[in-house]
Symmetry: D2
Subunit: 325 residues, 4 copies
């Protein structure tokens, strides 16, 4: 089908490429004209402006916005809302807060424009592996867009099928689902990322124990000099902790087991934060997910005010002077 | 090679079977004579006692003990230590604390007996998938035992190789490693299980948010009725959180999305606890791994004394009377 | 001064009493006529309706609303907003979300009505000890209300003064502060309650260790039969952990060391939740405060879906069947 | 009574002084002769060696060891064990692991020497406030030593008595208890310190929220410029979170609200770690106490290996390059 893509960064550019491989007609736009030119050279149509993009697409139009969450996405969708017409579709494939999806959809519905939220996982590997997609949309619009999801998703691949699965459709097995009405796609993706934080932190803590053991020894004389590269590799085979994140760890450690090129100041995204807010709103205990988020917050400062207040209390009752790092 | 296996439970029995498939000569023993008979029917030799097992094996003997950690393993190894002779090998394939390995090896070395600890992951799926093994042993003994590890391990399989990996040997890629001297195998397995706790808890919390959302709605009217079966399935394809544990979740939810047959009183094992002790001993912060362990402790009581003390304090300052569940 | 009080529950009733002791003129209203009559018998004026209350107060009027946060407070303030006139003051002494304060103040300012938020700590002990108050208000309005705060607050009492304190005013030492503009009072109170959750959970966990030790013994034979009543009492004297919450623990344990009359299903309030949201919004790591909140969530169910999913995974990889509680 | 004190540091020196004020005869020893001379000038007897100390004390002797836990205490007690005779008493007033107490007591009992463990809280304020003491000892020995505990403890003071308390003795109200047999004193003190970690972290996190709010503002425009000095002060009066640690916070903030002279690299002690080990050993969930300990571990490194592994994973799946701090 014909589709416009707005935002040609790492994610958007690869989505264009995968759609082109699937023989869709893609019209691409980005504020950065060089990004447009690069994809035009690979077979996409290029638009010079949002207006031009809208003008060139056949009706009912489909425009996929793939921009950073927040102002860039918000503003682009506002402009598109003004340019598009009844029965056109705007897809937000980024990491938007699900309550913003609901709000936007209500606004656009005034003009008869349909809004779709697609939670998209796969990162820079999506071009090769395909994207896992969780879609929030009206049912009819979801069906209209399925040719796009079929192309972008991984498909069955070599993954063993789940025994006993007895579901009315096989879309989940091909890598995309209709999660529910508008907002549901980003809600599911939000929780996905919350889980991702927890998984990452669990691996990180475990390898930190293994490394410390190797480097610093223990009182009592038990000292193992462990090969972290091989440990990550062997766990990929037959162990309970095998996963795609572990594959990435094996890859990273094979390149540099000391990880010296990484600062360790770990950024966090909206989705990690919103997951905690959603759990708090619903009264669900999520100690591991929250702790994983807070580990990132903590990594972003050398020392927090909280740390210094602890030092001050220790000085207050015990006269302890903390040794500077 | 010829090998004796002591302990024919779920793990031990499948290890015998996989070794038989690999054309090894297996002599099997268990206190339960029926278990011995069953495996004898599948081609293993059967021993009626530890003495008989030791008498029947060619020297230097190899005996793999696959029993519950603690007293059963400890006592069996003590008896074997008395029966075996110099250059024989005892393998502990269970979940022993690594400091106990070091202690035992020192004792057995007095008689020239070699001790090997094998951390074994794979659970009830090992017969089919192969076992991931982390071995602590003297180098020469590790090499002597390699035919056994080669048979039990998964091998390369269909798993994509790690790019940039440039390691002196490919054992890790075949599913087993020589982790280091005695104790190192169980140390690495211990941390593996600590990570496993964290991963499991991260998934469990995330699905709890998704489920609550579906069942109870939210103030503000955002209510999604999410299909957890399909969500687990779709995340298996191309998403960042795909893993073997997620495969098991998809399997469990496909069978019963309500999980009503599970009590939710979750047992914990020594390895989860020792991981926290090891981290505390080394001063490594492991908030997620510890929190995951404590979630299991908490699940084992309906209410803790701590909970009641919280209620008592709330009553003390606010006159709050907690509503009985 | 003359003041109207709306809401004569445990908190509001005692506020009326303490104001009467301070020789203020109090006009009291509650939906429950018996509560009005009871306080009238103690010397307060009684109003039969909000309209009557407003009509009877001298201008500029001051009305203190002391109702449960949420709908009861919201609706009452809306009605009062309609009844009051320019330069009148509405005080919300309950546990309102600080962003709601800001919104309400903006609305009321259209009519020239002043809005004040007072975070009030002290619970059922406030009549006797006085209330600790954190006030968000315009500076001139704060000053207008100070006679009320002076009466309600504890005053210097017997508490030792902070050495080196060199502050422009001594209000904090008398038990109330002008925290900042509207919203600041409830913001500070919110964090106060977040800290309270963390403190309570720390004590609760510690006593749980002491109790378990006493009741169940330990492998290795170290078994102490500890007297929790005396431990709580002795820590009140000279120890680093002495606090008012510990005083309440000593009181509760002296009454019933088993705490059998408390269910252990521990309620949580908006302020504990909002504290976590505020920390997430600002990127401040608060692992202890969040964990304390989640311990309460967890106490509210016998088993969570997360627990059952852990059981299901354990069954999936290890064939473990959890023993029913 | 006559008592020897070994170790004249911050704690030991003040214990000597408080005993002198109580008219006990004190013989003081420290490796540092200047410390001995200083206390001799204040009225203590001074010993030049452990041998001289033992020789000068009347039988049955009492020697209180007040040294850093670990080797200094262990070695001193070994030497004293060789010098002392049947019915003499060694008191360890430091922070020893309770299982070490049990081991030592068993050894000394061979010679008929009694061993006593005293968990001592109060820090540098003990001279003035008195020490809170938790004693593990045989009952008869505890009674023999009571004159010492009576002098060192705070006594009733001005603290309000616990209503409804109906205990056979009032020692707890005077600030010391016979916690149980040898080891029980340090066990209770260990849990006391575990709780202390949790309380400190709860305050620290709360003030970190208040400070961030003040300094950095919030999206949405709610920005309060909060006075942390006054907030700490006001919470001392009538609030639920008042405590001695809060008194110390008020003191620290009054001196320097920015806390710039504190590094924020927060040390931890054995007791915080042993509390977690004890909870793990007993299966008691202590997420807040453990998280508080791990916050200190984390503060001791600028970035952990775990942090860098998180960065590496983020780079692996998303191409994210973390911004250096």
């Amino acid at each position: 089908m014909q589709i416009g893509i707005v935002g040609l960064g790492r994610m958007g550019g690869n989505i264009v490429r995968r759609l082109l491989r699937g023989k869709h007609g893609v019209l691409a736009y980005d504020r950065n004209a060089e990004a447009v030119a690069a994809l035009a050279a690979e077979g996409a149509g290029g638009a010079q402006s949002l207006e031009a993009l809208v003008a060139a697409l056949p009706q009912p139009r489909v425009v996929w916005v793939m921009l950073p969450a927040g102002a860039p996405t918000e503003e682009t969708i506002a402009v598109l809302g003004a340019l598009l017409a009844a029965d056109d579709v705007i897809i937000d494939g980024g990491n938007t807060f699900y309550k913003d999806d609901v709000r936007r959809a209500e606004g656009l519905a005034q003009k008869g424009i349909h809004y779709v939220d697609v939670g998209t996982s796969g990162g820079v590997w999506g071009l090769e592996r395909g994207y896992c997609m969780m879609v929030g949309a009206e049912a009819a619009i979801f069906e209209r867009l399925e040719p796009v999801f079929q192309t972008l998703s991984p498909g069955y691949g070599a993954i063993e099928r789940t025994r006993g699965r007895n579901a009315p459709d096989d879309r989940a097995e091909r890598g995309y689902i209709h999660a529910g009405p508008v907002g549901a796609g980003h809600f599911v993706k939000m929780v996905h990322n919350g889980i991702e934080y927890g998984l990452m932190q669990a691996y990180a803590e475990g390898f930190d124990i293994l490394r410390t053991k190797a480097k610093e020894g223990l009182p009592g004389g038990h000292r193992f000099d462990l090969n972290l590269v091989d440990i990550a590799e062997v766990w990929r085979r037959g162990s309970v902790v095998s996963s795609w994140l572990l594959d990435l760890i094996a890859l990273a450690l094979a390149g540099d087991v000391k990880l010296d090129r990484f600062s360790g100041a770990v950024a966090d995204s909206g989705e990690g934060r919103w997951t905690i807010d959603a759990a708090v709103e619903q009264g669900v205990p999520v100690p591991v997910l929250a702790t994983a988020l807070f580990a990132r917050f903590r990594s972003q400062s050398q020392h927090t005010y909280a740390d210094r207040l602890l030092s001050a209390m220790r000085f207050g009752f015990g006269g302890h002077v903390e040794i500077p790092q």
